[in-house]
């Protein structure tokens, strides 16, 4: 540690540049990870808020809530407890004169079932009548207010905003919670269908209808349109970035070590153990990577404060901590690569001919 700190103190410019490079790498990885997490959570925020374990859908719906319908006939074969809730999904365009039109997911729910009961509102009240809606806060950012009247698609019916809810997103669209009867009306189903699916907090929930099938939450989420492809893309991007970081950091540390071999040869000639020099190299790498990581974290936090709400970013501390730990490990691996050079440094090389 003594050697590494003294070298950093003496060679401020050189090490500042290296730390700057590590800061940029950390910042890039953190921002990309946060964007990936943000986009990923915008697919599933609403689903996560229900704390569901399984969902019952029509078995021919390809695990898609929007393609599934449960009919009145099937209702007789379904038994619901307080852990189940019927849900009806419809894609809508919400509009109010003078405000931006919003593509949204209308989710019809029953006010007596757990989804409606468990909704955590940021303002307003829960559903207590028809033509009332609780909407995602994104609408608020776009100028929508409590008691405003919304219209969906080409319908003439007005829906009153009675509450706002945070992080209610499904498939990247903001969610509009309304009564299940309003969902039937929006879908023009004439009362023949009771919902799109049944959400359950019980992972073993089933019905007696052979046309209906229970899917786990992970199966359901993975079939959300574009979700798996998008996540895989981000995972590969971040993975490749980590590998490239490893190579870049390793190359820098390798060059640094090569530049120090003459000094190390002098120290080896004096009898300074190779272990001391190896420790100095590894501790220096850890100091550099952790410094870069801390500054990168501060930059990311500042970015989080100033980034517009429209940009989906999610700062998941456990995941970002894992990424940070990965970067420190990357630095240590980078420092370990030139260790063989240090162990084999020849003190004779510094004694003249």
């Amino acid at each position: 540690m003594f050697l590494s700190l003294k070298e950093i103190k003496k060679e401020k410019l050189r090490y500042s540049l290296i730390v700057t490079m590590i800061v940029m790498i950390c910042y890039l990885i953190f921002i990309l990870t946060s964007l990936a997490m943000g986009l990923s959570s915008q697919n599933t925020d609403a689903i996560d808020s229900w704390n569901m374990k399984s969902i019952v859908l029509d078995k021919d719906s390809n695990t898609s809530l929007s393609q599934s319908l449960i009919s009145k006939k099937q209702e007789r074969k379904i038994k619901l407890s307080n852990k189940e809730a019927i849900i009806g999904q419809a894609s809508v365009i919400a509009k109010k004169t003078g405000l931006t039109k919003e593509s949204a997911q209308f989710l019809g729910i029953n006010k007596n079932q757990f989804i409606a009961k468990d909704l955590v509102l940021t303002s307003g009240h829960k559903l207590n009548g028809n033509h009332q809606v609780i909407i995602d806060e994104k609408f608020k950012n776009d100028g929508y207010k409590l008691d405003d009247k919304l219209k969906f698609n080409s319908s003439k019916t007005n829906y009153k905003i009675v509450g706002f809810v945070k992080n209610a997103k499904l498939n990247i669209s903001p969610v509009i919670y309304g009564n299940i009867s309003d969902w039937q009306q929006i879908k023009n189903l004439n009362g023949q269908f009771i919902g799109s699916g049944i959400v359950s907090k019980n992972s073993n929930y089933t019905t007696n209808d052979s046309q209906l099938k229970t899917y786990s939450k992970s199966d359901f989420v993975s079939k959300l349109p574009g979700y798996s492809a998008q996540n895989s893309t981000f995972i590969f991007m971040i993975g490749f970035l980590m590998i490239i970081s490893l190579i870049v950091i390793a190359v820098f540390l390798y060059i640094l070590t090569i530049q120090k071999l003459q000094n190390y040869a002098v120290l080896r000639a004096q009898g300074i153990p190779a272990r001391t020099l190896v420790n100095a190299t590894i501790s220096q790498s850890i100091i550099l990577v952790i410094s870069g990581l801390l500054i990168g974290t501060i930059l990311t936090a500042v970015t989080a404060l100033i980034i517009p709400n429209s940009v989906p970013m999610s700062f998941n501390i456990p995941i970002l901590s894992s990424v940070g730990t990965g970067l420190v490990l990357t630095g240590i691996i980078g420092a370990l690569i030139p260790i063989k050079l240090i162990l084999n440094v020849d003190p004779v090389s510094v004694i003249g001919g």
Binding site: K10, I272, I351, G353
Partner: protein, 231 residues
């Protein structure tokens, strides 16, 4: 008392037709309390002699004993410890760590060898004697060649070694400093009972040597007559 003994040392580099016989059946012993000068031109094998004497390389044949320890029987770690505790190396070039101040050069050694080094007062006296007491907070790039070499000498003496192995220690020094370094080696040998071995071109050090060896084409011989001629 013999502290360093080299017996029938041969050193070859390369193989086949490119094989070079660098040291040819060298026998050498250094006594505590004596300054030994090894003089020879470039390529004569004097640096190879020094590195073998200091356990930095192994001879092709023959044996090296330091204070009764056969170096060939020691592990790499034990040879490191021996160098740290018993040998003070003074090297011609790259002799100081560029990112450590003069004081920190000693601190580094103290971090590894925690005991039996010069105490603060002794170090201060040594630095005064070498004319470097004002340089404690300077980095090597702020020192002249002569100052750097004197700091390197002080660093080698800091561990209170039994033997000093010096490679051209006066190469960058003016005549006045050469006399001081010569006197310092002499004093160290006599007062602290250290064996000093200096390989050099510098005949100005002859006056301070007890023994002068000539090395030429890998062969070494004692030639104290040189003292009379040069002196």
């Amino acid at each position: 008392m013999t502290t360093l003994q080299l017996n029938n040392i041969n050193k070859f580099f390369g193989t086949g037709t490119s094989r070079v016989h660098v040291l040819n059946n060298i026998n050498f012993s250094a006594q505590k309390g004596e300054v030994n000068l090894v003089i020879g031109p470039s390529g004569s094998g004097k640096s190879t002699f020094l590195t073998i004497a200091g356990g930095l390389q192994t001879p092709s044949t023959g044996s090296v004993e330091l204070d009764g320890n056969k170096l060939s029987s020691l592990s790499k770690k034990q040879r490191d410890a021996l160098r740290l505790n018993k040998i003070g190396f003074i090297l011609q070039a790259y002799n100081l760590i560029p990112y450590l101040t003069v004081t920190e050069q000693f601190k580094l050694v103290k971090k590894i060898k925690k005991e039996n080094n010069l105490d603060d007062q002794e170090l201060e006296n040594l630095m005064k004697q070498l004319g470097i007491s004002e340089l404690t907070n300077k980095y090597p790039n702020e020192l002249s060649g002569g100052q750097s070499q004197r700091v390197a000498i002080a660093r080698a003496l800091y561990t209170k070694p039994d033997i000093i192995l010096a490679d051209e220690p006066t190469a960058a020094l003016d005549s006045k400093r050469v006399i001081e370094v010569g006197k310092l080696f002499q004093a160290l040998a006599k007062e602290q009972n250290i064996a000093v071995i200096v390989v050099t071109h510098d005949l100005r050090l002859i006056d301070y040597a007890d023994n002068v060896y000539e090395i030429m084409d890998g062969q070494m011989r004692l030639n104290n007559d040189l003292k009379k001629k040069v002196g």
